[in-house]
Structure formats: C-alpha cells, structure tokens
Amino acid sequence: MSTLLIFLQKTITQGIVLLYGANGEIITEKSGNLNLGVPGMMYMGGVAGLAGAFLYENSTANPIPWVGVLIAILAALLCSAFGGLIYSFLTITLRANQNVTGLALTTFGVGFGNFFGGSLSKLAGGVGQISTAATSGGFRTTIPFLRDIPVVGDLFFSYGFLTYFALIITLLLSWFLFKTRLGLNLRAVGENAATADAAGINVTRYKYLATCIGGAICGLGGLYFVMDYSSGTWMNDSFGDRGWLAIALVIFARWRPTQAIWGSFLFGGLYILYLYIPGLTRDMQEVFKALPYFVTIFVLIMTSLRKRREDQPPASLGLAYFREDRN
C-alpha cells in the first residue's frame, strides 16, 4: 500500500473520533449548553466500554464477539450519558456556571478514565496492557468481499462498523436539527429560551435530553478510540487532546453536522500530517501539530468578521435559563 493510501486511512480513523465528539457537542450547544466536559465524557465512554468488554470476556471461556460489542456499546452510552446528566443537573436545574461545570466534568471524567483504565491493567496482571481480543475483533470486523477490492476497498471499506455509524449519526443529526419540528424546537431553545418557553416548549426537558444524548454520542467517540483504534487496550492519557479538538471542530463546522464530516477529516489529517511529511525535523513537527488549532482560530476570526447570521453560535450559548428572570 502506498504511503498516501495509509495516510488517508489514518486520517479517516483519526477524524471519526473527532466527528463523534463534535456531533455530541453540536446537539448539546444547540440547546444552549456550552459543555466543556467533552474530553471527560469521551474518556468515560471509552473506559466504560472497555471495562464492560473486559469483564464480559473474563467471565466466559469463549466470548462471543457481538455480545461483547453490545455490552461495550451499552456501557459506553450509559456512562457518558451519565456525565452529561451530571452536567445537566448542575447547569440546568441548579444553574451553575457552564464553563466551570464543564471544566470540572473534564477533570472528573479524565480522572475516571485513567483511574479505571489503569486499574483494569492492574487487574489483568499489571503488565500495563489488557486484552479484549474477541470484542475489539468484533469492533474491527470489516465488510467481507468489499474489503478485498484493491485501493477502493482499502480506502472505503477497511474500517469497523463504528466508522460508518459515525457518518450515519451525522446525517441523522443534521436531518433532525434542520428538517424536523423537534429539531426546530431545540434550536429555538438554544437561541432564546424565554421565547421558546413562551411558545410552549418544555425548555428544561429539551436541554436535559440534548445534553445527555450529546454526552452519549461523545462517549461513542471514546469507545471508538479505545476498542477500534487502540484494539481494545488502554494507555493512560493516550487519548490526548482530542476532546478539545472536537470542541474546536464544532466551531470549524459552524454548528452544522454535515460540515463536521469533512472538517473532521481535515483535522484528522492535520493531526497526523507531521508523521507523513518526509524530512521534518523534530521542531518542525511541533509546528505542524499546532495546525488544527491555528485553523480553528482562523475560522473563528473569519466567522466573526463576516458576521453571517447563519454562521453564529446559538445566541444563548452559555447562559442558564431562569423563567422568573427578566431579560
């Protein structure tokens, strides 16, 4: 396989992690909640899925891959949605500051992930690596036949099902937000909660659901990273700053899921570009690693310069809603 092909493949795998995170944050932000807990929720989803698979495989002699996959997905969804629930309860019901709560959730979630991830490897004998071969095999199963087509198969059909699921979720989310009544209501909540309330929309319910579902989608990103990308192993902090990049991607995509698709591939490519440019010195590699952030800042500035209404963040992003407040 040519280097270019490998680069494109890796770009896609890197991008999928970010795409999940960005989708989760888009639906959350559309409800007016700026959840900086994305990195935390991604860690929580990843480690919960891994723990589920690990406990299942340790409890049976012959683990069945699809059972492990189901358990892992369920565990990841529940755990990361729980992260979203903590955030929702604090910011929506108790009206705590969103930035601070999000950062606290990230502290908690990253600690949660590293604690359980690290403890799992200790349980397995302390060699620093645990094996969930059957389940991760299930996650990495590719489509038969299609996979064997040269080049096309490598480029489009060499991935596990979560990759395609990410694209499906993105399209579904885009349809939901912009083509359905419920999506319109949700966007109304994020733009101006008081108006939405006056129109009879249950603001609290929309905010809770959007934030928890958003958390669950973020968690799938963590799950994908752990079970597919890392083949069902855990290394503390190996997830890196991908959670923050996912938040950056939301801005880059200007709160549109479909824009996040190519954005995620662009970010994924920029994230690993330094490995594929021949002759880069170590210091130049570091410059390349900062590219996704420069691109995000650039987009941020451009959107504020052009002031196009449809490119702006949801108007009440970051604000708690209290019905008895007069605005």
Partner: protein, 367 residues
C-alpha cells in the same frame, strides 16, 4: 383569585436577594461535607479501604511535614496568583479560559532569559526575567482581546485554542533548549550556578513566592475596588451598553484588562520557573490555568474567599498524591475526588442564589 382551583406547583424556585457572608459560608461548608461523604462512599466502593484512613492520608500528604506544608502553601499561592489573573477578566464577563496558555508563555519567556542570561550580572537577570514573563503573558492575553474588542470574536473558544498553541510553542522551545541533546527535556536550568533562581528568605525558599502573591493580592484588591479603571471593568461587566452610554471606551477597557490578566498569569509563569521548578516543560502549568477558573468562580472573585478555595484544592491534590502511593491507588484518584468536590460545591451555590418555596396547603385552601 377566582374560586376555580389553580394548581400551584409543589415546589418552585425563587431568587434570593442577598445572603449574609456567614450563611453563604455555611452552605459552602455543607457542600464540602456532602462531597466528602460522597467521596468516602466512592472510595469504599472502589477500593474497600476505610475512608477515614484515606482522609488521614490526605492530611498527612498535604501538611504532614514542614516541607510538605510549605510546598502546599507555595502551590496554593501560585494557583491563587493565576486566579487573580483571571479575576479582572471575569469581572468584565470576559471568559478568559486561556490562563493555562498565558502561564505557559510567561514561563517560557522566563526560562529563555534564564538560559541566555546565565552569565549576566544578577541584577539584569532578576529584572529581565519577570519583565519577560509579564510581557509574554500580556501579549498572549492581548491577542484574543483585540479580536473581541474589534470584531466580537468569541473569547471562550479563542483563549481555549491559544492554550494548545502555547503548548506546542513550549514543546518547540524545549527541542531548541534540550539538555542533554535528544532528551526532549530541558532539565534544571543553571543547575550549578543557580543563576535566576529565586533566592531564599530566612533560609526558606518558598517564602518569596508567597510574598509576591500576597503583594499582588493587595494591589489587585486596591485596583479593582478603588481606582477608576477598576470601576470601569465592573461597569463593562454589568452592561456594555451602560458603559458605552456613560462614555467608557469599552474596547480600550477590554484590551487593557486582558493585558493585565495575561500579565498576572505571566507572573505565575515566572514564579513557576524561577521560584519552583527551575525548568520548563509543557506540564509546568499542569492544569492550574483551568483549576484557577474554578478558584476564581467559587471565590466569587473575592481575593480572601479565593485564598480559601485555592488552599483547599491544593490541599486535596497534594494529599491525593500521597494516598495514591500509600494505598497503591492510581494517581488519577485525586482527579475523581476533586471532580466530585467541585460538583458538590458548584451545586450548593444554587442555594445561595435561590431558595425553594414549597406549596402552602392552607393558602391553597383559602384561595
């Protein structure tokens, strides 16, 4: 009211006017106690250890010996310094979550002076180090401020992104300065001569850092409370329109305040390199820029309350490092505990700003 029964909700939320300091402190205390109970349950469920033993371990780790106490105090001071850096920006409702990056560039500039100025006369070195740190931090704070002032660019996300740019910049610089070559770390700067290391006062190498932060505390308190500029910050924070109407140049206030905010973060960077670590790495700020946001917020931007919060958080962190080794737990246990405590304290704030009013049965009957 008509005779038809109007269904009153079982409970509804009412905003409080104001609460006495004592009462609000009591609510915070209740939040902390609740957090400690939840943490105890979590500790017991996860590890089966006796939570009392674990808490004793935390106490021992943070304040067990005089050296540990001083380190806890110094780290609290530095965290507090970053909290002070955020204070003017937050007072202006400018969500500067880029303190991490501002500290990093401040630290980097300080380290640069230390490395290149190893043989300079010490007065030049000790003057230039803080100046470099302050200028670098101020510059890093100015960038998002200018864009915010001119084009209303979202500052939360801009400052967040700049953190990572700063991190890459430091990694880049480390490769430049690494010692020995290829080690990917700078090591202790000027290990032999100790040039540029903050001197000890009365044989105590932690005191000067603490002293600097206390001076900043007093100055900042005075600046925010008694100067025209401090007042302008508050007005802009309350309402930009009011400020504009009152003839305040809002753009200038935003830019000036963020320069100050970044500069104070730069001081923290200087203290971390010159006063504490004597080296530079990407983990020199170690998440303090983010923790300081929590300090500033929970302390309600009041320097004295922030002092309590900062000390408590550092106390928990340093204690948790100790229990991690003592009980063979994973280091990350401290982050889980910190997270739970933050959740509880953030949650309890609700009861300071609001109160719950339950349905009065008798009144409902009367109506």
């Amino acid at each position: 009211m008509s005779a038809t029964t109007v269904k009153e909700p079982w409970v509804h939320v009412v905003k409080r006017d104001r609460m006495t300091v004592g009462k609000s402190a009591l609510i915070h205390l209740a939040g902390v106690v609740l957090a400690l109970i939840i943490c105890a349950l979590v500790i017991f469920m996860l590890t089966g250890l006796n939570p009392i033993d674990v808490y004793a371990g935390i106490w021992d780790g943070a304040l067990g010996t005089s050296r540990r106490t001083w380190v806890t105090l110094r780290d609290s001071a530095i965290l507090l310094c970053i909290g002070f850096a955020i204070t003017p920006a937050f007072r202006m409702r400018f969500w500067n979550i880029g303190a991490e990056g501002q500290v990093l560039v401040g630290a980097m500039a300080t380290a640069a002076v230390m490395i290149y100025g190893a043989n300079w006369p010490s007065w030049a070195l000790y003057t230039l180090m803080p100046i470099a740190g302050v200028l670098a931090g101020a510059l890093w704070g100015l960038i998002p401020a200018v864009f915010k002032a001119k084009w209303n660019t979202n500052e939360t996300l801009f400052t967040l992104m700049l953190n990572y740019v700063a991190m890459q910049a430091v990694t880049y610089a480390i490769i430049f300065w690494e010692n020995p070559k290829g080690s990917n770390s700078v090591g202790l700067i000027n290990m032999q001569s100790e040039a540029g290391w903050l001197p000890s006062i009365a044989d105590n190498k932690y005191l000067l850092t603490i002293f600097v932060v206390l001076v900043i505390m007093v100055l900042l308190y005075g600046y925010m409370k008694y100067t025209k500029q401090g007042y302008e910050i508050s007005v802009v924070g309350e309402s930009e329109n009011t400020a504009r109407y009152a003839g305040i140049n809002v753009k200038r206030v935003i830019i000036r305040t963020m320069a100050l905010s970044g500069a104070l973060a730069g001081v923290a960077g200087f203290l971390l390199v010159s006063g504490a670590g004597h080296t530079i790495s990407t983990s020199v700020a170690d998440g303090r820029g983010f923790t300081a946001i929590v300090v500033a917020w929970l302390g309600k931007l009041n320097p004295f309350a922030m002092l309590v919060v900062a000390f408590f958080l550092v106390f928990m962190q340093r204690g948790s490092i100790q229990i991690a080794s003592q009980f063979g737990l994973n280091d990350s246990a401290s982050e889980i505990l910190t997270g739970i405590i933050l959740f509880c304290v953030l949650g309890c704030e609700f009861f300071i700003n609001y109160r719950l009013e339950f349905r009065h049965e008798e009144e409902a009957v009367k109506a």
